[in-house]
Symmetry: D3
């Protein structure tokens, strides 16, 4: 059970090798590999195209119009972290700009995922600092407690994977297994891609014709 109004300093992070490896597989494959769960709302996208990052979650809960806690969480960042910020009510205020980004980067953060507005988009892009934007919904409170960010539940130490397809949270206990499953998917897809590129139909490759006929599909010329 977590308490509110508290900064949890010692959190257990997913091991760095696993957290780092997930970026290369992409949020879409990771999402599939977890059984289609953990995806933040589709409005969450990196602020510049082509971003691909993963890291361990360091969470913070803000109240509308107040970014005090952003400074508090800065101190808790460890290299390789992605800060995940949730807010207790929907608010379009801009909570994050280039000053905070400078501080976060100095502490080793790779990105900020926030379900609210940001400012200094141009500078953040130049710094290659990722900040996802969207609308807001949030939950319990404080630093390094579980938060709901853009509809996804994030525990401190979970893995965040963010790219042009979206932002996915991989629970720490599922990270190693998910990495394995995502790699298997990717390996498997290469062969399928070649077959489909040669003109073989998914209907035949996946043997769908019989079940479709059983389900009642008819063809009319």
């Amino acid at each position: 059970m977590y308490e509110l109004g508290v900064v949890y300093r010692n959190i257990t992070r997913t091991d760095a090798a696993t957290a780092d490896a997930l970026a290369g597989l992409g949020s879409a494959t990771v999402h599939e590999a977890m059984g289609r769960v953990g995806l933040m709302q589709p409005t969450m996208r990196p602020i510049y195209a082509g971003a691909m990052v993963s890291g361990t979650a360091c969470t913070v809960l803000l109240h509308p119009g107040d970014n005090w806690m952003m400074h508090v969480v800065a101190e808790q960042i460890r290299p390789g972290d992605i800060v995940v910020a949730a807010i207790t009510a929907e608010c379009t205020d801009g909570y994050f700009g280039d000053l905070l980004a400078t501080s976060f980067q100095a502490r080793g953060a790779r990105a900020l995922v926030i379900d609210a507005g940001v400012r200094d988009v141009k500078t953040l892009t130049e710094m290659r600092f990722i900040s996802s934007k969207g609308t807001i919904k949030a939950t319990i409170g404080s630093v390094n407690i579980p938060v709901v960010c853009a509809g996804a539940l994030v525990h401190p130490g979970d893995v965040i994977v963010a790219d042009d397809d979206g932002v996915v949270c991989v629970p720490r206990a599922m990270a190693a297994k998910t990495l394995e499953a995502a790699k298997a998917r990717e390996a498997n897809e290469g062969e399928k891609r070649d077959k489909l590129a040669s003109g073989i139909l998914g209907l035949d490759m996946y043997k769908m014709r019989e079940p479709l006929a059983k389900a009642g599909l008819r063809y009319i010329d």
Copy 2:
């Protein structure tokens, strides 16, 4: 750590007396008493005006277009429960109608909170069965695992409070303390209401004039 694709049968529920007592205090007061956290998105409202209910959460995770798990969760309902349904992607499909409501009521459920469409609104209203509607976002999976419903994190056994002001989730470990705090707020508000009704200003009652002046507020005639 929870697993996916699993029905957890033995969950610890908030004690009934606490869960029941929260309904009368209202979601707004309970929300304040918890420190302004736990509120679902403001689009979540009961389907009929005047509803006031609380109960223990029995959670279920659905996939888009599939309500199999609604029948699975029915068996896990205990009298006094409120079923909280989350879906793994936003979808406007109607997952719940009067047949399921009949089954849920027969098992002792007091309400359904679902971040998706429902059908048979007229019948559900006649049955005084509450179903909150809105848009959808969701998380990990299965029955009686933690879910994100309408932006709020709900653990099995938590207390749900729903009325015209919205839907609030009170974590089980905070339920007793929240009840106490909410009662204290309510007792306190009666006296304040009388003063304000007599024309005394909040400016004076809360002694705000000095801090406002210090903050720079000026009056111009």
Copy 3:
């Protein structure tokens, strides 16, 4: 092929007995009976609770900010019709008020379905005249051509069913068959409702336990 800028005077309407009978079955059951198609967007709801109506579609296409064609379509109304108005671009302007409602009612219209704003809500409610509201999207043009209203394709002469669950369009050629299927569903549901009310679970009534186990569902105590 339809032309634009034209009023089609002679359209073939669904027979009145079929069109009238669908109201009593409700939009949700009719939607299911058609195979879950034909439903307008979920934001479309009657302006007063408890409305239940069906009738034959008389269609009109408006341009933003211009309700001339509302007067043109008034002349084409036959008793038992529901006017379906689409607009060529999203616009929140109010296109319909109590004067037009008076005229439509005098011509025998039962309702207006419009994916745009209306005014004089209080009067329209007193007249028990149904007008669904929402946001707007539209298509080709003129009076009694096919239009897209709130995401559903409506041909002149189709049946519209509107109540608190939403608005459904039943294509003319499917109307008789849909009525039959909807009646069968309803007859069938009475028996199921009794069983569920007695505490029998859908899991057993629908024999779901075996397929769920095959799909990998596990129970944990």
Copy 4:
């Protein structure tokens, strides 16, 4: 030119007779009588059906998550006022509940128009105190300065008209003229309504057949 961080105490209000008379004509007619301007966004609706109110605007600008200024504006309310609250960024926080309503009512306010969330909806409805809800956007600052509420510009002393059709702001300088024009429209509409009810078409009553033919409208049997 207005200053920020200031409470303007002496504002010029529209004369009470004019402000009061507009309620009976309804927001839709008043909106038409002003030339289709001044309407707040269509999401703004009173919290209970059947509300009809008008009054003089007393404005306040809030910052997200902070309702201090609500207490400041309470002191500036004069009997017959409607408080119009704007917020400097979109925020779903609930800024207003039954305690503030009690204070506002004690000071003579007839309603609150706020482009944000409220709480204690049930109590506010019982008090017949109107509070319109929606999403938020705002402007310059302080008490009794011009604000943008739900997309409409409101100056202190303007007239607010609110009912089931929406919320309209009538600029003070246009109030007398608008009242006259709205009365004229209403008188005029009675006669038209009778004609339309008798089956006469708007096409003929408004002599639209010739201009429509000139615009190219054709009829096809």
Copy 5:
């Protein structure tokens, strides 16, 4: 009359020369040339900037969470087609990724227009495969039946024109005439552009001063 649950194999496509020529004129000009109809909702945009494509529509209707029919439609694609996918309820699930894109491209498809989420955005962009995204609404069913995609009615064989200004559907019977009208508009616009660039005002070029004065426009210095 179309049936549901059916694949129509022989559809009549707009002739290739007409369908191909429309891309160069752009969706905005084509939309104007058709009389401002046929435009999909403004949220529909290609996934990469600078896209310009047209082709014949090959339609498919999906149910939420199920992309079986995507494989069925792949077999029906002819070179020069654009697949238009509609879904029977709004759902943010990702129905289309690089594997399906590979298959579609191998069959000769130029683009996919889908009113739902896609994945593998980076790869789709590299393949220059266009996929428009947005939210979802849909209609009747199956492959090569009329569907409603993003608010526009699309018949199999119609022409789809997609670029940064949006997505337009040109009905087959209007394609040749629309091409002619769009060319005429474009020719006409060159001359106008030169005049406006030289500083001549639209007020004078379109002879608007007199009608504006008649409509009551006044100038105040």
Copy 6:
């Protein structure tokens, strides 16, 4: 007091040096320097990334589906102006394309800010002509009267600042003071940025530790 249906020809513009200097400081800093007011809704963004512009506002009020007034305002443009267009009801119609852009540019306009759709996005981007897009809400009427554009109040002659962070309106009377304050902020931020980049925490630099402890924040290892 402004009148409707009128073109105001002689407006007082902010002096050019002040209006021009604000672009380089950016909308985010200007917004902060004004006390977090004047920002248009966050959906308002330039149509191409990297845009940075400021200029004096020349305002116009349109009615849905009608762009006559766009030609009227063209004549009122002075070099260095930004045209701000508001519409009296939300409407997705495209009111502005490359022909009007050509005319506006010929008259010396630097940008168009419009809370509605535009067409010819590709051409407008090539012309480096900025046009912000979003949804619509509006107010009183005519040319060079105060309008509400995307939630912000704009008077003729105010300064508009637009870049990737959004669009801000600076009232004429506040322009000089805002410029000074924004410059001071920027100067001040350089030193802070260096400190934060060196790893010094905001917690220490802003001396937040004591007030946070007083507010009850606790640390748990």
